[in-house]
Assembly symmetry: C2
Homo-oligomer: 195 residues x 2
């Protein structure tokens, strides 16, 4: 397949859309972020990246905590809204009913089915970005989305979590169908013999 | 909605599944990675996180380059395979037809519709993870997936890129439908009056 170079384009896809929560000047504030992801599983390590001048950053730096909240597609209008206005200009504290975990300073959104309460373990800047790497202190899930298998609690399938995806075509997407199981699909693959 | 705490669980979702490429001992090697994401857009800043003992890391450290290749759902068996075997044990250099960009040392997979050629700008370790933050030197896209609008080339919609998603229910997923446009959907949201 012939390739075209598009210069230096940030085509990472899909991007999970989350609401990052922090207490800024003692009030909950929420920023819509797509620069968010996983860095480790055991123990859980995550990050968010945010423009240096973003209001949310002040609160994260002050408390060394933040939250990652996963909205559902139904919440798209308010999610998009939180990405278009700054907490400096608009008080976003009344947009959501919030709760707190053991860290006390990371506001979490009750309406989001999954919430990660995060403790910053590393912070660094590159260009005009500030990156916060954090351990997950506690994970909260709506009780209707928790399943118990072999005595162990875990989370239902992705489709029921109904997350918002984003891509750099500037569109939001829903998640599609399950297409396979991790560490099983390789059984359908027959590597070429090197001999 | 009552919440259940699941302890400290890394429920970031969905996760984009990519093949990270590096030349290790002068041969292309590819690792399936879900710990990958965006850290900045202008200029494009990305990262991958990989267990410290992973074979791929050797090549990234040596050359300070790597590639991010986005497979399609059709490639799932070989993608899953690359996540189950180490390059120490299996020579993965013959699995894909590769090409190189200006950096010369970041092998890219021709069959993947989008390839990012990456130059490491920061490396750090937390726990047993090694995290490589990189600038995108060049982005390659299959010519059939490039569109031109107002004289500017960009990429087609996400559905046509047909990426593989992963979630921590250990399932792979396809992407769903477009559900909205960035920075537009907030027009459907009417913030509560604070007065």
């Amino acid at each position: 397949m012939p390739k075209i170079s598009l210069g230096s384009a940030p085509y990472i896809y899909p991007i999970p859309i989350i609401l990052a929560g922090a207490n800024v000047n003692s009030k909950p504030n929420f920023a819509t972020i797509g620069d968010c992801g996983l860095m480790g599983i055991r123990p859980p390590l995550v990050y968010i990246s945010s423009g240096k001048d973003h209001y949310t950053n002040q609160g994260i730096l002050e408390n060394e905590t933040f939250s990652i909240n996963f909205p559902t597609t139904e919440m798209l209008p308010v999610v998009d809204y939180c990405g278009t206005v700054s907490g400096r200009v608009v008080d976003k504290s009344s947009l959501f009913e919030v709760f707190y975990g053991n860290l006390k300073t990371a506001p979490m959104i009750l309406k989001c089915p999954v919430n990660l309460e995060c403790k910053v373990v590393k912070e660094f800047s590159i260009q005009h970005r500030q990156i916060f790497v954090a351990e997950v202190a506690q994970t909260f899930v709506d009780d209707t989305l928790v399943i118990e298998q072999d005595g162990r609690k875990s989370i239902v399938e992705l489709a029921r979590l109904d997350p918002i995806l984003y891509a750099l075509d500037n569109r939001y997407y829903s998640v599609g169908s399950a297409i396979g199981t991790g560490y099983q699909e390789h059984k359908e693959f027959h590597p070429p013999s090197n001999g």
